[in-house]
């Protein structure tokens, strides 16, 4: 009896955490594309990444949640903030000036994309996404990730490292180009 009560209380708690994380995720995503100042957009992206990390924790992906916070909030967003500060304020008001045909077309295209995703997922997997599978205690832990990554997917790991190296070299070359401006 008490076990049932504890289980349902845990269930309700997971639901509460999920609802808060999902709403803050969607709300901060809307904030990212709505702020006129890109600095605030980048700050809103931090909230989005944090709520996504909470959802990863609910999905028992501890290592990916930690990597998300470290890589995105720690490195990518900080790089964005540096570049935004370097480039200077360039304001743009996305929703002002009335509905132009471009905004109308963009909303229509994004809505069509959303409907297409929902229809595709619903047709492919409507029945099989209902029940909730139980996973082992080691699923998503760093040691498990390390074993899967470095034993089963070693080639993907190495290719990822090469891609990162090439991107770093490309960033340096793009940033250090000192040819005189012709404009």
């Amino acid at each position: 009896m008490s076990g049932v009560v504890v289980a349902s209380a845990g269930n309700a708690l997971v639901w509460v955490v999920w609802v808060v994380a999902a709403f803050s995720c969607v709300g901060s995503a809307v904030a990212v594309i709505s702020f006129s100042n890109p600095f605030f957009s980048a700050l809103a992206l931090i909230g989005n990444l944090g709520s996504l990390a909470v959802m990863y924790l609910l999905l028992s992906a501890e290592f990916v949640a930690a990597a998300q916070v470290l890589v995105y909030a720690g490195a990518v967003v900080v790089m964005f903030l540096f570049v935004i500060a370097y480039v200077g304020p360039r304001r743009e008001t996305p929703w002002s000036g009335g509905p132009s045909w471009q905004t109308f077309g963009a909303v229509l295209a994004a809505g069509a994309l959303l409907v297409e995703i929902v229809v595709a997922v619903g047709m492919q997997a409507s029945g099989s996404l209902k029940h909730d599978g139980h996973v082992g205690a080691t699923f998503g832990t760093p040691s498990w990730i390390g074993r899967v990554f470095l034993v089963d997917h070693l080639l993907a790991f190495e290719i990822t490292s090469v891609v990162l190296l090439i991107a770093a070299v490309g960033g340096v070359i793009l940033g250090s180009h000192t040819k005189r401006a012709t404009v």
Partner: protein, 102 residues
């Protein structure tokens, strides 16, 4: 884990992807377009991790980590381009950057 079905997570990922696509389409500032691109990549990551847990398969989480590395690479090159554009005193408006001339 009790709580919401995997379908809820996939629906959240779909909404997030739609918001990111809308941001890429309506915004003009290159930096905000890159931020919206991050939103779309994160939506893909959320769907990958949710379905990875649903099918008890670790490949989804591995792929999500690879997507993170690719996103970091993309930000590296994209912000390098933004800095190069700014150094040449070019506009960061994506509508005026229609020609790939040096």
């Amino acid at each position: 884990m009790a709580g919401p079905d995997v379908a809820w997570y996939v629906a959240t990922a779909a909404v997030l992807f739609g918001i990111g696509a809308l941001g890429v389409l309506i915004r003009r500032n290159t930096l905000v377009v890159l931020l919206s691109l991050e939103l779309m990549l994160n939506a893909g990551n959320l769907a990958l991790i949710a379905l990875s847990r649903h099918w008890h398969n670790g490949a989804g989480q591995i792929f999500a980590l690879a997507v993170m590395a690719v996103a970091a690479s993309e930000v590296c090159v994209g912000l390098g381009l933004v800095v190069a554009l700014n150094r040449r005193n070019l506009s960061l408006d994506v509508d005026t950057l229609s020609e790939l001339k040096g």
